[in-house]
């Protein structure tokens, strides 16, 4: 029997929808699984068989998370670095970009050469470590926020964004005798909200998820981030035969594993909550980025 074009199309449609549905499920389910696991009694989770709904519902994992000074402290450090790092990064990058967005700026080409070269070449981890060490940044909170103050990638995006702002806005302010700093703060920043939202999202997510700098540059326990603590637990339990240790550490139904699952949910939650609303911004962001290369 010969299938008509319409029938063929329908079969293909069905296949595409099925494939995409499977794919979506494979991306959604892991998050859901971690969520239900975090609400399941820790000792019970070790038995397995929890697939769709918590079997023995419990808030114990979260309660322990907030009670545990290590996890709690790491949580606070992560929140602080995200807020401070994002604010500093957005402000400083925009400030530098504002200066560079003036087409008649002297030495403009020279400045750009310095930036582009810094984008493509780097000295690598070891010399970077030496620089941070001589600046006295190792083992300080500053190491999380200061070296990431200027993002060369967003610098270029911000420059092209500022250049699109009609110059009449600035000129009328000049007439009124406003200084550059006032113009930047009162005129440029308020009309750049889409840019600032995009930058905040990317820098914020980067800060929130970051653990490498905590592993490289920080030894003090009080400065560990949430992601770093999770890494520690994973590294420990990843080693073979340590699941016994995972189970042994159980107290009041909570295991170090179930505690880690709660920590994972806490670290995923803000991202999941924020990002549907900012979607159009970050799609804009990646597009701008791709145009710039």
């Amino acid at each position: 029997m010969q299938l008509s074009q319409k029938q063929k199309d329908r079969i293909m449609d069905a296949m595409i929808y099925a494939l995409l549905a499977i794919l979506t499920l494979s991306m959604l389910y892991p998050f859901y699984y971690v969520l239900i696991l975090s609400f399941n009694k820790g000792t019970d989770s070790l038995l397995g068989g929890v697939y769709l709904w918590p079997r023995t519902f419990s808030f114990e994992n979260y309660a322990r998370f907030l009670d545990d000074p290590h996890w709690y402290r790491a949580f606070l450090v992560t929140i602080m670095r995200t807020l401070a790092g994002t604010a500093l990064g957005v402000l400083f990058t925009c400030l530098v970009a504002y200066g560079l967005s003036h087409r008649d700026l002297l030495f403009r080409k020279g400045y750009f050469t310095v930036i582009i070269f810094a984008m493509y070449f780097s000295g690598g981890l070891i010399p970077y470590y030496v620089v941070l060490r001589s600046l006295g940044l190792l083992n300080t909170f500053g190491v999380y926020v200061i070296p990431s103050m200027l993002s060369t990638f967003f610098l270029l995006i911000a420059i092209s964004f500022f250049q699109e702002i009609p110059s009449e806005l600035k000129e009328s302010a000049y007439m009124d005798g406003a200084t550059e700093l006032v113009i930047f703060y009162r005129i440029i920043l308020p009309v750049s909200m889409p840019l600032i939202a995009t930058m905040s999202l990317f820098l914020g997510v980067g800060q929130w998820n970051s653990w490498l700098d905590s592993a490289y540059f920080v030894q003090s326990e009080g400065l560990r981030t949430l992601a770093f603590r999770m890494m520690e637990v994973i590294n420990k339990s990843n080693a073979p035969m340590d699941a016994i240790a995972v189970a042994n550490s159980a107290s009041a139904g909570v295991t170090s594993y179930s505690l880690q699952v709660a920590a994972m949910v806490i670290s995923i939650a803000p991202i999941v909550c924020v990002y549907p609303f900012l979607q159009r911004f970050f799609i804009q962001g990646i597009m701008l980025g791709s145009v710039k290369g």
Binding site: V34, I126, V130, M231, I234, P240, I271
Partner: protein
């Protein structure tokens, strides 16, 4: 006459100079802003570049930043040591294997997803699939490793528990520890995490294709597969080439398709070491953990040089063969 031009010439020069100062003074706040940025780059980007020198020296951390310049030259000693390292072959093989596997699988995945999505007419479904598919991009590798542990570990992993319970296997699969599984684990998790994200850019390329091309093809009797092959795919070619160049240039680091270092660091352990140790994890271990700074800097340098060569040569090849290129 001669005197005249000289006089005017000088006059022009001084005039230029005063004008230059006038302009500079007028822009002085702007130069202050930009200057702060330049100082930042000088400290955090350019000083480390000079630090590359330590790969050719006997650097000791106690000498601080000055030591980069004052410590004793040893030439290529550290490079030779790396080439003669008993682990050299394994490390290089693992680094290349991971990078190659990602180009083969993690790079084409978003292209396929974009084509599939472009064939979906139900906008709500399309948007839903997209929204879910780029969620993993925003989650850290640590969490991805945690999820992998929850699913795959031999003792508490859900997959093993379920398969054992159903009697499909009689011994848990040691995916997280067996060296045979590491490359697949790294490639698979990279596909899972980054596929949706890079789809955005390919979907945009498809959106830019002139719809009349599809209509014309339909009138000529082209079926759906034919339209994908002859219109959609060629329409994405420029974007594909640019993303491929970017990927190849950063592939030793894992680049656009997931960080090799973070994967090797998080999924690596003492048992799968033979396939999970890569150049970067090794440099980290000998450098920051064992304090052999010069040796680690030399290993780092080799990797950066190869990356630069890769990006320039792939750009050159792309320019010659397809006309699209990055620079």
């Amino acid at each position: 006459m001669e005197l005249d031009t000289r006089v005017t010439g000088i006059k022009g020069k001084t005039e230029q100079r005063t004008q230059f100062w006038k302009r500079f003074k007028k822009q002085k706040t702007l130069h202050l802003f930009v200057g702060l940025g330049m100082i930042f780059l000088l400290v955090f980007a350019y000083t480390p570049m000079f630090g590359i020198l330590m790969a050719f020296k006997q650097y000791s951390i106690s000498t601080g930043i000055k030591g980069i310049f004052t410590s004793e030259w040893v030439g290529l000693k550290h490079f030779k040591e790396f080439f003669n390292d008993y682990q050299f072959g394994t490390i290089v093989r693992n680094t290349l294997a991971l990078s190659l596997l990602k180009i083969l699988f993690a790079f084409p995945a978003p292209i396929l997803l974009a084509i599939l999505l472009s064939e979906v007419k139900n906008l709500k479904f399309k948007r839903f699939v997209q929204t879910i598919s780029y969620l993993p991009h925003f989650i850290s590798w640590v969490v991805v490793a945690g999820i992998a542990f929850a699913f795959l570990s031999t003792d508490i992993g859900m997959v093993n528990k379920a398969l054992l319970g159903l009697g499909i296997i009689d011994k848990p699969l040691d995916i997280l520890t067996n060296p045979n599984y590491f490359w697949g684990l790294a490639t698979g998790s990279a596909v899972w995490k980054e596929m949706g994200w890079w789809t955005i850019i390919f979907l945009a390329a498809i959106a830019g294709i002139n719809p009349s091309l599809y209509e014309a093809a339909q009138i000529d009797g082209a079926g759906r597969l034919a339209r994908i092959r002859h219109i959609t795919f060629p329409g994405m070619k420029g974007t594909i080439v640019v993303v491929l160049i970017l990927t190849i240039g950063s592939i030793l680091g894992g680049g656009l398709v997931g960080s090799n270092f973070e994967q090797a660091f998080l999924f690596g352990n003492s048992i799968n070491n033979s396939t999970s140790e890569i150049v970067q994890t090794y440099a980290f271990k000998v450098g920051l953990r064992d304090g052999r700074f010069s040796y680690a800097a030399a290993i780092d340098l080799i990797q950066s040089v190869i990356s630069v060569i890769l990006i320039f040569s792939s750009n050159y090849i792309a320019k010659r063969t397809s006309g699209s290129s990055l620079f």
